[in-house]
Symmetry: C2
Subunit: 254 residues, 2 copies
DNA sequence: CTCCGTATTCCTGTATACAAAGGGAATACG
DNA sequence: CGTATTCCCTTTGTATACAGGAATACGGAG
């Protein structure tokens, strides 16, 4: 009866985080369909830990926004409209804009901005690559994520870090959510070039303490993601490349 | 041994929310001092529920940001610097600014804005009161909270609602956090007048679909809270009036 | 054939038992 | 006298047992 497929050495310290990771994967990969109720026992059977950590994991995922509490108790997998995805991206943009502005207004030491410059240079290399292979794009994803993380650090604000971390927990709201989807599109290279220019200009703005400019740039930068969402929605195969796409229910695509 | 003082009819549906409310109160009132570790058993003794709901409550409060997880397990009461308080207010301002802008850009029906107008009128009455009694201010607090809540609703964005709700969970970041502290200050009436004008102008901006103006106004509006914080820090007795002040450790005030 | 009442079954919320790990204090050794 | 070590106690993480309640399925009646 109990088919424990997921025994693959999830040697994460605690049972709770193991459960959290496992369930999150189940949700994100679409194994569990949106709207479906999640019973604790089924998770116990699947993951192989007791109800207590499963329960903790569900609670955690509900705060993250992947699940929604049911009034009769328990949780269901949340479904997102494309509009909500857009709004989530906008929120991220606004918060990252605040981060950039704070960094600019307060001023940052050159030693603090150096890692950003290095990251920028590495991104330049990746964008400069002639071949548009999948490897190139996944390398871009990694570097891009690091760039954004470093930028938030630059603001040096714990509360803001927390809030942004929360905002990008929704996988389709993260800075690199649509990059992989881009990889299949003809305009891919152009978009990457523009995004990279945003990165460069933001660093310049921060260095020269142009707070307002830094903020506007980050907002506009997030708009690239919005545009990519629209592009990705054109075909199912492209759409499937964005993380957490299983949670998004659109009118046009089944 | 077990002195269950808090038996005062906390008839909240579940034990978990009861524990959550009780512990939050303990933290906010300063009964538990910042930095102090919270042991589950001590909460069990105090509140009178078992470890399971206490544990759930602690987890919840940690996500809310009132507690911070310890690497050795368990939680400690988080302490906030005045700078972090300022940043939290700034975050709220930015998010409420986004809400106002979204409402303005999308356009709202007059039926939707009517409750805001009514709330505005009621606020006018309160601000117009001649006596500056405590009752007046606490009435202002209630109406002000409602106004801000309605404004967020106007944006009609679930993700944004969630994010803002999270932002104002920190009690000193809520829109009315410093109003009661104001009540003891001579410039109180003037500040209320200005705040109320912000409210009025934001509604006008939204009605006329002036997104950028609506956003700027809400940001500036939140700056009133920042200024009030600076004012409130001048004396201990004033400072004590702000909710959650026990969590804030400042250089100047013990 | 359909609708309603009832009983059963599953599920969550809560409490408790158990084990491992961390912290602290006392003691022994250098 | 200072330092390191060891032991004990406290605390958390995890598992399980129990009770109340909701959803469902089944059976009977109209």
């Amino acid at each position: 009866m109990v088919v424990a497929v997921e025994l693959e050495a999830d040697r994460s310290g605690s049972q709770t985080v193991r459960a959290q990771l496992a369930i999150r994967d189940l949700v994100l990969t679409g194994t569990l369909t949106p709207g479906e109720r999640i019973s604790e026992l089924s998770m116990v059977a699947r993951i192989g830990v007791s109800r207590t950590p499963v329960r903790a994991a569900l609670l955690r995922l509900a705060d993250e926004g992947l699940l929604e509490p049911l009034r009769s108790g328990g949780f269901a997998i949340k479904a997102f409209t494309d509009r909500e995805v857009l709004e989530s991206i906008e929120i991220r943009g606004v918060l990252e804009g605040l981060a950039a502005r704070l960094a600019a207004e307060r001023g940052v030491a050159l030693t603090a901005i150096a890692p950003l410059r290095r990251c920028l240079a590495e991104l330049d290399e990746v964008v400069g690559e002639t071949g548009a292979s999948v490897e190139v794009f996944s390398e871009y994803v990694a570097l891009n994520a690091r760039f954004h993380a470093l930028l938030v650090e630059l603001a040096d604000s714990r509360p803001l870090e927390r809030q942004i971390e929360r905002a990008i927990t929704l996988p389709f709201a993260s800075p690199s959510a649509f990059v992989m989807a881009q990889s299949t599109m003809p305009e891919a290279r152009r978009i990457l070039t523009i995004a990279q220019d945003h990165h460069r200009c933001v660093l310049d703005a921060i260095e020269q303490r142009e707070g307002s400019r830094a903020e506007s740039l980050m907002r506009e930068h997030s708009r690239l993601a919005s545009r990519n969402l629209a592009l990705a929605l054109r075909s199912q195969s492209t759409f499937d490349l964005v993380p957490g796409s299983a949670l998004i229910r659109t009118g046009s695509i089944a």
